[in-house]
Symmetry: C2
Subunit: 275 residues, 2 copies
DNA sequence: CAAATAGTGTCTCTAAGACAATATCAC
DNA sequence: GTGATATTGTCTTAGAGACACTATTTG
């Protein structure tokens, strides 16, 4: 037993080259557009939180919030800390997407990024802070397959527009990987990371379990439906959607009010799946 | 533009503390048991490849193959290199599962592990090398839910038996995380990593796309079915299984032979999903 | 009442499960 | 022929999609 102690005492981790580790968080938001008619439910659009880089490298470019892992914290804690520090947004939960470790992806050196995705809805963003950070903006997301394996990513916020053309290289285990054909305005390989996270959340938003992780505790079934529709870019009939989620949710005694139409009952995630 | 160059020239990555990065690979095998009756198809069992540690720490304990990331290689390349170096097994593909970054998980210091899972079937293992590595052994896997969130992991190879009791702490996005209640014989936190990879492959083996990634190019539908059944620990009727996979596979002109019963047609993965 | 969304009922069609029946090989 | 698996066909049932209909609120 002492031999192991001796070994550890003489072991020097500095003898080996080590990379730096960062997290990058693609935080998507189901954003309500303001509606002209007071009694209509707002239209929703998918937006992504980016920050304008104040420092080199890629000064002035737009990047995903994120930063270096600090000693004593887990990767997940680092991701949550960084997004809150940089944007004042506090996601309910984050989903691991992929690790980006290609050499040359960061001009500063050997830096490996753990990419996470998150989705928050307008219902809870007001409670946790919104556009407080000076250079953090929500960009409207458009990500479409132009033709076989060729995708176009467009992020817009007012006059600012970021574009990228990407090729889908591999799809393994539900997550596609991309390579940039051309891009403008993105820092590092963040166009690739954004495309990958979009692919990941789209392939997983079919599963209700995943959707709940991004919603506040109580929600209307219509809100839940909008989240899925906005992410997947599809439309489903409310009657069928309700039937499908019925086993995953539980009624609460609360209702919405003052919406100019029939109030909606609030639901919460069912604790145990009834078998 | 020169300002960025200047910045990079003065930037020293050594100013920040960095972790060491490793990969650990849980390589599962659909192993054919030898069958008494020559014309019966072999029974299959799920086994996991472990190596006995020759060095400190955890000398003599059983560990997942894996090792340190080297400069210039991606995490995936590192995982593939390590498993081949240590066990002479060459998986067709590997699936990222999770990153383990809890402090104290490795007594040598700040070491973060990227866990990967792979599945290979006996049909192609003979072609790529088997039990060549001296201390690499295939352990029969038993992983069962004893009661609510309490799991028991048992790995056996002949007289050797490794056990662990684990609690399921969180399930986010289809992958459960576990904490060890008690364990014996495992190096590091590898009992946790093994439980997590098992949970991940089980939740994903429902999707045929994922299964193909682990099979040789040509396979019988029965072999494909056995893979799913062995991983998921279920049984399905051949007739129904065939109908379900029909859209995912293409016939080839090859057949099995010499099996003591009707030959089976070989299939390959369909290149494009027909819509 | 009108406009809007919330929520229910029911019809159809497709996919999944159960099971019977046929095909083909090695001995 | 016998014993084994491969492969196909069909009946039944559960679930997804379409759509009509009722309920409830605010102005």
């Amino acid at each position: 037993m002492n031999k192991e102690k001796d070994f550890l005492a003489s072991y020097s981790i500095e003898d080996y080259e080590r990379p730096s580790l960062t997290t990058d968080i693609a935080c998507f938001r189901i954003q309500n557009s303001s509606e002209e008619n007071y009694r209509k439910n707002p239209k929703t659009k998918l937006t992504l939180l980016l920050i304008k880089r104040k420092e080199h490298p890629f000064q002035g470019c737009w990047a995903l919030p994120g930063g270096f892992l600090q000693p004593g914290e887990t990767i997940e804690a680092c991701a949550l800390r960084e997004i809150e520090e940089e944007t004042a947004v506090k996601p309910v939960s984050i989903m691991p997407v992929a690790v980006f470790s290609e050499t040359g992806r960061d001009p500063r050196g050997w830096i490996i990024s753990n990419a996470y995705a998150s989705i928050i809805s307008d219902e809870n963003i007001s409670a946790v802070g919104g556009d407080d950070a000076a250079d953090a903006k929500w960009f409207e997301v458009s990500f479409t397959e132009e033709n076989e394996h060729a995708f176009h990513l467009k992020l817009t916020h007012g006059d600012i527009s970021l574009c990228a053309t990407l090729n889908e290289t591999t799809t393994s285990f539900g997550v596609s990987r991309f390579e940039v054909v051309e891009s403008s305005g993105f820092a590092f390989d963040h166009a690739t990371i954004i495309a990958t996270t979009l692919s990941a959340i789209r392939s997983r938003a079919k599963d209700f379990e995943y959707l709940f992780d991004f919603l506040p505790e109580k929600f209307t079934l219509t809100a839940l439906q909008k989240v899925q529709e906005t992410i997947m870019n599809i439309e489903v009939l409310p009657a069928n959607f309700r039937r499908k989620v019925a086993d995953y949710v539980e009624q609460t005694n609360d209702y919405t009010a003052g919406s100019g139409h029939r109030p909606a009952q609030l639901y919460c995630k069912r604790k145990k799946t009834n078998s």
